[in-house]
């Protein structure tokens, strides 16, 4: 009887082991779920807990970095960027699953964006875009939007000439995306913005009008509604004033600007539900 006792204790321990492993993995799962619902403080806390578990440390570091970066975007606290960088530097990529490697790539790209390294961020977002699971249109649209935003910032910081080349790349990518996903208003926005960037203001106007009208049909509260606001802003801040300024010599640029603004308002009025 005495000899059986240690064996029973051992069995008890072994039986408990999967429960412990499950509870540990559950911490990571909860950290991920918290991130996905933008409960960022909770995500950081849970990911920190998971990082202390050796077999989860690398996966958890990716979650920790992503949550920290997101928190930085909300608060502007640069300490979050520093923590995200440290976490990413600690990751051993060979300890990640292929899916986690994709998440790491996005985290690194976001960090580069926060660092204003827009060129490098563009490259990483482009490679991230290539591995977004087929059929996940929402994820694809977001990654594409990141890619386009990074390239746009990269172009805005470039001198004349180089700026147009970067916008030409953005235009090609946005056109590809629009052809691949015709319902994507995000892609339409970036076609319009890139047309403006390469100086094709007439096409920028036409694409922005088409995009705004397309966005009328989207459900209230969907990203399409935001895109309408963005297209309106692009039109009023950039396309209309620049088109007016580029008007042929005998025209009065101010009169052209007023006429274009009135036309834009009229289009919006006619296409409002």
């Amino acid at each position: 009887m005495i000899r059986v006792a240690p064996a029973v204790a051992l069995i008890g321990l072994v039986l408990a082991a999967p429960q412990v492993a499950f509870a540990q993995s559950d911490v990571l799962a909860r950290a991920r779920a918290a991130y996905n619902t933008m409960r960022l403080d909770e995500a950081v806390t849970l990911a920190t807990e998971a990082r202390a578990i050796e077999r989860l440390a690398h996966s958890a570091s990716v979650v920790f970095a992503r949550a920290s970066l997101e928190r930085y975007r909300r608060t502007g606290d640069v300490a979050d960027v520093a923590m995200a960088r440290q976490a990413l530097l600690a990751v051993d990529v060979t300890r990640l699953t292929p899916r986690e490697s994709d998440e790491l790539r996005l985290a690194t790209a976001e960090l580069l964006f926060a660092d204003e390294q827009f060129g490098a961020a563009t490259e990483l977002f482009e490679s991230a875009l290539a591995v977004v699971p087929e059929g996940d249109t929402s994820a694809r649209e977001r990654v594409f939007d990141w890619w386009a935003s990074a390239l746009d910032r990269h172009a805005q910081l470039a001198p004349e000439g180089e700026r147009e080349r970067r916008y030409a790349r953005l235009l090609a990518g946005a056109e590809r995306e629009a052809a691949r996903t015709p319902a994507s208003i995000v892609a339409v926005y970036w076609v319009a913005a890139a047309c403006r960037g390469v100086g094709d203001l007439d096409r920028a106007w036409a694409v922005a009008v088409a995009g705004w009208i397309q966005a009328v049909r989207v459900a209230p509260g969907s990203p399409g509604v935001t895109m309408q606001t963005d297209l309106d802003s692009l039109m009023r801040t950039a396309i209309i004033p620049e088109r007016a300024r580029a008007a042929a010599a005998p025209s009065d640029p101010e009169a052209v600007r007023v006429a274009l603004a009135a036309e834009w308002e009229s289009i919006k009025k006619r296409w409002t539900r």
């Binding site: 069995i11 039986l15 082991a17 499950f22 970066l69 502007g76 977001r142 939007d145 990141w146 640029p253």
Partner: protein, 185 residues
């Protein structure tokens, strides 16, 4: 009192071992299954749009003017009327029409370069002053993006000034000043 045979202990140990291996097996299966259950991280919401208006009055010309004799490909050249040999003395010289941009300055002389640099620094100072009046913490998400971009343009402009890239620095200073002014409003 029960007398145990010599094989009883061996059989007991064997049973314990079988039970042990079975439970380890179950534990291993349970552990293998968990990593695939964790949800995938969704991509973060993309950043706000940053639309930088082209400044109405650039501090510097966009690029160096073409060398003499080289026709411009981008700016239409208005034909000049032939010079009169005997202009009427009573007619004053016509004022340049409003809205016509002055010809691009040449960044070749030391005096010009110093003047351009002074103007760029003045634009930067104005941008800094405008941004200083803005409290970033109370801005909307989109305005924060504009604020950060304006700061980024100022940093890049200072870098361009360090390497004496005045044309590029001028473009960046204009962008920074335009965005900072919009934010201040």
């Amino acid at each position: 009192m029960t007398v145990r045979g010599p094989g009883a202990g061996v059989q007991g140990s064997f049973a314990v071992l079988v039970l042990l291996f079975a439970t380890v097996g179950c534990g291993a299966r349970a552990e293998v299954r968990t990593p695939t259950d964790v949800p995938m991280l969704v991509p973060a919401p993309p950043p706000d749009r940053l639309i930088v208006p082209v400044p109405e009055r650039p501090t510097l010309p966009d690029q160096e003017p073409p060398a003499a004799g080289t026709p411009s490909t981008s700016t239409p050249v208005r034909p000049q009327p032939p010079a009169r040999s005997n202009p009427p003395a009573s007619t004053p010289p016509p004022a340049p029409p409003a809205g016509v941009a002055a010809p691009p300055a040449v960044l070749s002389t030391t005096a010009n370069t110093a003047d351009f640099e002074r103007r760029i620094r003045e634009q930067l100072r104005r941008a800094e002053a405008d941004l200083a009046q803005v409290n970033r913490q109370v801005l909307s998400s989109n305005a924060k993006a504009q604020y950060d971009a304006a700061r980024g343009f100022i940093r890049q402009c200072e870098d361009a000034l360090k390497v004496r890239n005045l044309v590029f620095a001028g473009q960046l200073a204009d962008k920074a000043a335009t965005m900072a002014e919009l934010l201040r409003r």
